[in-house]
Amino acid sequence: MSKIFHVMYDDDAKVMTAAGKLVGQGIRVKDVYSPFPIHGIDPVIGIKRTRLAICSFMYAMTGTSLALLGMWYFMIQDWPMNIGGKPSFTLLENVTAFIPVTFEFSVLCGAHGMAITYLLRNGTLPGMPASNPDPRTTDDKFVVEITTDNNSMSAEELEAAIRATDLLELSIKDA
């Protein structure tokens, strides 16, 4: 029977110490729920750096290309207009006038693309149910989640190790 341990702490420093101690004993921490980002916890519990910034760059470059392609089509290819004698025959000649819109459109795509990716990857979308184990974790409590599934220790051994940390509450549920 696999079990889920929800270990509650009342301070972020205690979470850091406890997580370090547990990981040091070879225990894998599944997740940490906290009201605010605990700086420095990611490498301890094995969370890799997010690649969202790379996504944003790619979305922004898509925006740049689309903006230039669009303006080339509207202003150069489809219907070149003589506006105040400004050059309208090649993209290269006219590109200086297109820089503001290119920039704005790149930012638009980069920002919104990244925001949408962020929400989808998190699974945080309108109407989604909350999955924090205890409502106090959005206030002032911190919960470390450990399961027997991704640990080689038995439930008893895990519980003993967990109880050795400076915890506030422990809840054990069957998965």
Binding site: Y33, P37, F74, V107, A115, T124, P129, T138
Partner: protein, 458 residues
Amino acid sequence: MQREAAIREPLILGHKTYKDITDDVVGPIMGPAPLGWKIMITISSLIAVYGVGCILYLLGTGIGVWGLNKTVDWAWDITNFVWWVGIGHAGTLISAVLLLFRQKWRMAINRSAEAMTIFAVIMAAVFPGIHMGRIWVSYWVLPLPNQFGSLWVNFNSPLLWDVFAISTYFSVSLVFWYIGLIPDFATIRDRMTKPLPKKIYSILAFGWSGRAKHWTRFEEVSLVLAGIATPLVFSVHSIVSMDFATSVIPGWHTTIFPPYFVSGAVFSGFAMVQTLLLIMRKGMNLENYIHVKHVEYMNIVIIVTGSIVGVAYLTELFISWYSGVEYESYAFINRFSGPYSWAYWIMMTCNVISPQLFWFKKIRRSLVATFALSIVVNIGMWFERYVIIVTSLHRDYLPSSWGEFHATNIDIGIFIGTIGIFLTLFLAFARFFPVLALNELKTILKSSGESYKNEQAK
């Protein structure tokens, strides 16, 4: 954990715990609406209704109901537009630029400053919208395939750049604001006991649970959005200034406009933040979070940007003489000595002289003086745009068509009305939204909370 020099004033006063921060911010949302709030929102929504009435009258009758004439064909409409966009800039500056510079004091004010940005940009967008006359075809500003042959919008025009700039700015600010709000909505959701509000906040919270991986992503997204919102905010007001600077009207045709407008925007935006927050901190008992040090920091930004604006005014005057162009010189001589000299001197007094009072530490740290001066700056920055726009237009190349602009009741009604709509939106925000970035504030409690700092100092 980060440490901060002991001599720095703490950013969070009082002996707060994590729970106290939640209680102080979420408490007012869960409790009944205070009487003062009810009175204020009633007054501001009545003004808003009057403004909407004026707008509907304008749409039904045509823009002839404004005081515009053949010579002064742009006046209050574009003045109000630039004024509102400028006010909006402080929100992005506080949340994006100060985030990049790791200024922790931004956390107490960024949420409400961003709300102010969003509402101010909505108000700004009203003016070009209604100035089109036929607002129902306002989608023609977008390059859409159409039945008029291949009729595309003009991508060489700064007015079209503005369409892209303002819509990008508005939507990116909205996303930036909302992503920050999600964890705070989750806090409200988990504390709310009444079923209907709980349901609404749980929809707004998007199912946020505060997992470690989500927080990592949250911080990355905030940082990248700050990184791209910073050039965005500079580009937006630069483009607004190019609406004027790329024309060949003496008084507008100057290369100094983009930096001058950007610093003016930050200047007026911070003044508006002061006006709103000084009332809000009192009304919502947030004195421990937004205290004199925060006000002082903002006043320092006001001195710096106000002085940049002052230098820009003087540079304009000097260059108009140094250029040797008769028309250019006349535009500026006419500005400070012509029929609109009263507006010019109001602008000079409010924007250049009055903020210099903030060099005195006593004044800079006085809440009453700050509030009074913030109103003065708001007025001064409105007059700056009025001076630039109306004085440059009212005497053009042909003396036979020289004229003056007289605002009508509809001009005034729409402007006052947008202030009413803005205040109504802001008051609604203050009542139902977490007005401080409460979960972000918890991250600085241990490095900059008063009791923690005192302990470290021992």
